[in-house]
Subunit: 139 residues, 3 copies
């Protein structure tokens, strides 16, 4: 990965075989970024998508392998429980231009991934909700 | 819903059973926000998607119920005809990670919905177009 | 097309029958914009989606015609080889709310297209990668 900072924005290139979430978490830690949001595009050759069922408070997941475009990547980051935390959703497209989307557990970059990350000059809190079973925004 | 303002950005959490468009319109009104744009992710348990046909100048729509991730939510807001106005498109994903998308008429939040709304320091105009049958950006 | 500049943001309306990429490239040139990123929504009546296969370093593409909502449009721009350069991915939805997505080669606007373009106060470099076969971010 390589990045460039311009004011409060980071332009990021993730490279072939790098993990999107793992690499971004390291990037946030190394750059002491407390909160922000991002959008991205590119391609992956492996992704684990997840879907949350409130009724049993569990994620189901599905792994896809092969050449997929990242047709949308939207997410936010904060510090939760003392550590960098990312919440992102992704949509990928196959060679038939069919799309699949969900909560992004992890993905492995294919040819490249381009992300615009905007740092927010403040903090975003999160708190576990017993009712929902997830770590929700808490201000 | 709960939100936090950091400079020109609002971090917003919408809660279970809240309507996305209705709640955001109230939020814009209460905070006297004249224009902005947003991106979001989360989940819904009800959504009405719409598709516009220029030939008859009408939206057709489709309602989905059940647990769907919001895999993408993009929109903008302005004041039109003296009132807050939102134009948003959404893509949702089911438990098979299949996606459905369209113009967002309304949706009811499932576990949570996280939105980053950026206020624009100016106004966005709209004007009804006879030819198109929609309220288009007008500057 | 019509646009309005507010600080570092351009609100853009593309009109029926205008090409998205072609019109944006002219807009960037006319306004001497060196780098930025954007998000958009709207509708198209023609689009060429592409999908990259690293194994043969070639894009395959698929053209869709008819009334499609632009349910997501994400992209970035820079100057590459002395000229304006856009990299964008798009997801479109049909009247059944089914979605198709990929690398955006070109699209022809239907009723309208609304874009928020944010100029970045700096430069984004790109460089051709022999290994990948694409022009990647280079900082």
């Amino acid at each position: 990965m390589e990045f460039k900072k311009i004011k409060n924005k980071y332009l990021i290139r993730l490279d072939k075989d790098e993990k999107i979430i793992g690499t971004l978490l390291n990037f946030l830690k190394n750059n002491k970024i407390k909160a922000g949001f991002f959008l991205g595009l590119g391609a992956i050759h492996e992704v684990e998508l997840a879907h949350y069922a409130l009724e049993n408070k569990k994620y189901s997941s599905k792994s896809l392998k092969g050449a997929f475009e990242i047709v949308s990547l939207l997410g936010n980051s904060c510090i939760f429980d003392g550590k960098e935390y990312i919440h992102a959703h992704i949509i990928v497209g196959d060679s038939e231009m069919k799309t699949y989307g969900g909560h992004l557990k992890e993905a492995v970059v294919g040819p490249t991934c381009e992300i615009i990350f905007e740092e927010i000059d403040g903090e975003i809190g999160r708190e576990y909700s017993e009712e929902i079973g997830l770590n929700l925004f808490k201000f």
